[in-house]
Amino acid sequence: MATTTTTKPPRSTVAAPETPGWLRWVDDHRKWLFAAPAMTFVAALLVFPLAWTAYLSLTDAEGSVRAESEFVGLANYLDVLSDIERFWPAVGRTATFTVVALLFEVVLGMAIALLLWRPFKGQRWVRVAILLPLVATPVAVGMMWRLIFDPNIGLANQLLGWFGIGPQPWLSGQYTALPTTIFIDVWQWTPMVVLILLAGLTSLSDEPQEAARIDGASTWQRFRHVTLPLLTPTLTVAILLRGIDALKTFDILYATKGRGGGSFHEVETLNVYAYGLSFDYNEYGISSTVLIIFFLIIIGAMWALTARRKEAQR
């Protein structure tokens, strides 16, 4: 009985003969019509630049975008993918930066969120203090750390000196620069992970925790077998958001090491490389190729992460 009432009556009986055809058309397509302005917007702001970049990546455009350029097919892609001096090291650095920064941010973020989860005295102040790095502009953050890490007049080496530790090269060292920028990223973005995880934690119901406690589960066991599984969807969101952001980090790297990521390209990620190709070298064709490849990498990473998220939610 219930099923028959919910089925739609045949259309012919609803559409009265006096309803004009265009109105019926509007009615049938309204979900598209309402979405049309947004779709136009997306097309203008996303699809067009992307298509233009894809087109440029197939040409030898250089010097000026308006100068004549020739269609070279996939030659740029072959060039870029066989470039072991700048491109592949940049891919490696991008991956290292993203994975290491993300790892630290998630582990630290989780620890801090757990500490802030239960109410305590002065909690409000602690929460505000933790959010401070998040509201600063990344370029300003980069400048600030650049001063702190200056090898000769910076605060970091002075601090080390008080403890009798010799000066460290920090940002200026060929092998210490990337870890240092990762540190800066962790400093700035861990609060965001804390924020997301804290929201997730406070929305969890207390019952499973209590049940586990009554069963005699230790703190670690409760975290491992109750809190963590319940928090997984939130955790995946945090990883997804932060992962994509870390993958395309530019401002911190540019503000601390400048163009080319330093004299040995020590912090040159794909973003920094593509920027240098177009703004320093004026090689728009090659630069577009790098960006398109980078775009595909981001899409791939996003797809992999969302797939994991759906799996986790099942």
Binding site: G63, S64, V65, R66, A67, D150, P151, N152, I153, N157, P167, P169, L171, S172, G173, Q174, K257, G258, R259, G260, G262, S263, F264, S278, F279, D280, Y281, N282
Partner: protein, 411 residues
Amino acid sequence: MASSACGGGGDGGAATTVRVTLANHVWTDNVKKALPEFEKQTGLKVEVTQLGEDQLSDQYNVKLNAGSSDIDVMMYRPLQEGKLFAKNKYLADLSDRVKAANWDFSDFQAGPVESTAYEGKPVGIPIITEQEVLYYRKDLLAKAGLSAPPKTLDELKAAAAKVKAAEPDVAGFVARTGKSAAVTQFSSFLYSFGGDFVDGSGKSAVGSEAAKQAYAFYGGLIKDSGPANVSTDMGWPEAMAIFTQGKAAFYTEANSLYKNATDPAKSKVADQVGFAPFPAGPAGSKPYNIPSWALGINAASENADNAWKFIEWATSKEQTLAQQKSGVPGARSSVWADPEGTSTFPEDLAEAIAASTKAGVGHDRPLVVKVAEAREIVGQPLVDAITGKDAAAAADTAHAAFQKFLDDEAR
């Protein structure tokens, strides 16, 4: 089109506002102070956009690439971007305008004029010239028992080592170390060793014996006598900071930055700074002598007549003299000949500049279209030498890469 009604300018309804894009520089600060005078004289309004060097470059890349007309006058670096901009037709041809009466184009020094021309036509007017000189600390020299600044590079090396040995906290020598940033200041070392970036037949010369010696010398000097924790990405602000904090005895740098060292507000050692001509190498003392900045007119500007009025005023004898008196070396011969033109420079600096303009080389980086890329290639042996790697091997690698770069560009 509405603007034509209130425009009334010389070229078909152009606006009475001149939009000028300038770099952060003492020259810009001076011009901004003098602007009301120009606005009163001409009835024009000047809108200044001021940016750091890198941001200025990016701005031009974006706006000029898009054919934007909202820049009328542009301050640019003839040796860095001049060829690229002219090739892309961003710079208006000034051939007819430089004939302006009373303005006297022939008064400009030949070197800078040559560097701001493209295919024989003037496309920019040089406003600031630069030579490399030796900055030094008088007190540290005296402490180390040296009576005069070094005259040769060998003497410089010995003196720097001596100071460092006497004062462990102070570096004997400091200079730019960034791969790209150091190239311009290294060029004087290269020329004084008898080398150049490109030889007479247009081939790479960075693998030559002279170049190898120069790379090893520059890198070795910083490695052995430089600051304790030397980084490989110092540009002039970082190197200058070390010098003005009193942490270095010798420093080779562009003379146009001298105020940073002698201004008590910016320098802890202002009263102890001395200047000397660039020390002589095996091939003599050969510092660069270049126009570092010029003014050009955006080819897409719809306000070219008024843009020229601004340039004519900003590069006039009076303005050049005023600029030079406040420490900005200009490109006009008459101002240099005028005792008033050098009256405000420290005496030893004026002498060093006079020596540099005589023996100077007209470029401080490879003269190519893609300068940024070329600088990174020819600068690599510098950072390798500073970090203790084999300078000669690095020069050979750079030589092969640079030759390939030149071949690509010639195609």
